[in-house]
């Protein structure tokens, strides 16, 4: 029932050209999700075209969390990138609309960052049966 959603793992250096290719096909940006793993951050970018999702996944080290901004390609990405910065302390380079940490006015900054009980990067998910 669910189409294949396996994300394509890419490197942050290829991110901009892959996103540009998706934009040229006419996809719209659905979401950017950041997950804090034991020693890295995992970013998942989802794009949709006519009801089918394409997912890109990039892993960045926790010690040096930098990722280029895709605002130039998808202007609506600024909210997701500011949220990633405010909650996880991920440095998004080249943000055009930057709220400098004022989007989420929480008393504990970067609250979703590394926590003590995180599992290591998961094994590839088993193929779902009964599709």
């Amino acid at each position: 029932m669910m189409p294949d959603q396996t994300p394509e793992v890419i490197d942050t250096s290829n991110l901009l050209e892959r996103v540009r290719a998706l934009r040229a096909r006419g996809c719209r940006l659905v979401q950017i999700c950041a997950t804090a793993l034991l020693d890295q951050f995992e970013l998942t970018y989802s794009f949709d075209l006519n009801g089918l999702l394409s997912n890109l996944r990039a892993r960045i080290p926790a010690g040096d969390p930098r990722v280029p901004s895709i605002h130039a390609i998808y202007p609506c990405a600024f909210l997701y990138e500011n949220e990633m910065h405010d909650l996880f302390n991920i440095q998004v380079e080249g943000m055009i609309v930057d709220f400098h940490g004022n989007l989420y006015n929480t008393s504990v900054k970067f609250a979703f960052g590394q926590t003590k009980a995180q599992a290591p990067a998961p094994q590839p998910a088993p193929a779902p049966g009964g599709n």
């Binding site: 029932m1 669910m2 959603q5 719209r28 940006l29 659905v30 979401q31 999700c33 997950t35 998942t44 989802s46 009801g51 999702l53 997912n55 998808y74 202007p75 609506c76 600024f78 909210l79 709220f99 004022n102 989007l103 989420y104 006015n105 929480t106 609250a111 979703f112 926590t115 009980a117 995180q118 599992a119 998961p122 998910a125 088993p126 779902p128 049966g129 009964g130």
Partner: protein, 358 residues
């Protein structure tokens, strides 16, 4: 020309939920709007570390008070897809009925708030009076008015018996007559047309590029509705997305009014076709893997990303709510508008800030 910064929110009579906007104004024209959210941030995404995946349904439902049922339903659907649990057909139909009832009550709430934002208080009271009948049906079938508490992993917790179904159908006729009178005012009254017509126009390309979802996108001519993906019982029901072409606030209001009647028709179809059978299956084991589910809330497309590694607790729970996707559109619409149109434009995307901030 000198610029003034007017703080709008978080406490404002027109806002249903707290959001702060710094409006940079020149005379009466808004030049820029800078948002600041976080007033209702409860860190629910981090709560997965404490609550196991079965109890988490109750947390997922409480992300928002208005669209609460579909949050719970989407969470259950995501876990069921991850664990390959076959949900019985009767449960899928029941979820559809409650989902559409939730949509009717949410749209009526919005219509009331929009009337209040325009200053039309008597129409606001009439919309919420009509909403009370819907909430009475919900309370009789699920036990709660706002937080339904009826979804669980593997199905639903309560059944709707045959005589309750007859009651619902007869109540729906009264509700439909009521809605006819109220939507006629929204769509044809001269003062409403003047306040909403031509205000906040989003062209088709702009709406698509800004990542809008839901009625905001459909009012600009893009027929996209996640219910066409066929989750719950929607594969077996007859529905087409309600669209308009103008892209202004009046069109968004008209799309929501049209969806009210579409929901009533969907409930009638679902209750007519509901199959007999059990309402839930037993769930064993723990989830493993990751999944992205999308459902259609009253405000648009909601995306649930779940990741699990075989333990009782999920590893990651991420909700991208429709208001989060519509916020860039609101910020763009506010640029260049008149100061008196700010309440109408803030409400026209149907902001549900507690969903946005979780």
């Amino acid at each position: 020309m000198a610029r003034t910064i007017i703080p709008f929110g978080p406490q404002h009579p027109v806002l249903p939920e707290p959001v702060h906007l710094d409006l940079v104004v020149e005379d009466e024209k808004v030049v820029e709007a800078r948002p600041s959210i976080g007033f209702v941030h409860r860190g629910l995404e981090k709560l997965v570390e404490k609550k196991d995946y079965v109890e988490f349904v109750y947390v997922a439902e409480r992300i928002c008070g208005i669209c609460s049922f579909i949050h719970g339903q989407s969470y259950c659907q995501a876990i069921e897809a991850m664990m390959n649990i076959p949900v019985p057909p009767r449960a899928r139909y029941l979820r559809t009925v409650w989902g559409e009832l939730s949509r009717i009550h949410s749209h009526l709430l919005w219509l009331g708030l929009m009337a209040d934002a325009m200053g039309f208080e008597s129409l606001f009271m009439h919309s919420w009076r009509a909403r009370e009948r819907v909430l009475n049906i919900v309370e009789a079938t699920t036990g709660g008015r706002v937080i339904f508490g009826s979804c669980k992993i593997g199905g639903v917790r309560r059944d709707i018996e045959a005589d309750a179904i007859k009651n619902i159908l007869s109540e729906l006729e009264i509700i439909e007559r009521d809605l006819d009178g109220i939507t006629r005012v929204f769509l044809h009254d001269n003062s409403v047309k003047q306040r909403l017509g031509g205000v906040g126009v989003l062209s088709r390309q702009e709406a698509y590029d800004l990542g809008c979802v839901g009625p905001v996108l459909r009012a600009s001519g893009v027929a996209q509705d996640m219910r066409k993906l066929g989750y719950a019982a929607y594969q077996e029901l007859d529905m087409e997305p309600v669209t308009r072409l103008e892209g202004d606030s009046y069109a968004r209001c008209a799309v929501r009014c049209g969806e009210l009647f579409q929901s009533i028709s969907l409930i009638r179809q679902a209750l007519g076709k509901i199959p007999p059978g059990e309402i839930a299956v037993k769930v064993n084991g723990n989830p493993n893997g990751e999944i992205i589910t999308r459902t259609e809330q009253p405000r648009g497309e909601v995306v649930y990303c779940l990741k699990a590694t075989g333990g009782r607790n999920l590893q990651r729970f991420r909700v991208r709510t429709p208001t989060f996707a519509n916020l860039p559109a609101m910020l763009k619409l506010l640029q260049g508008c008149q100061l008196a149109d700010v309440p109408v434009l803030v409400l026209t995307i149907d902001p549900c800030i507690s969903c946005t901030e979780r």
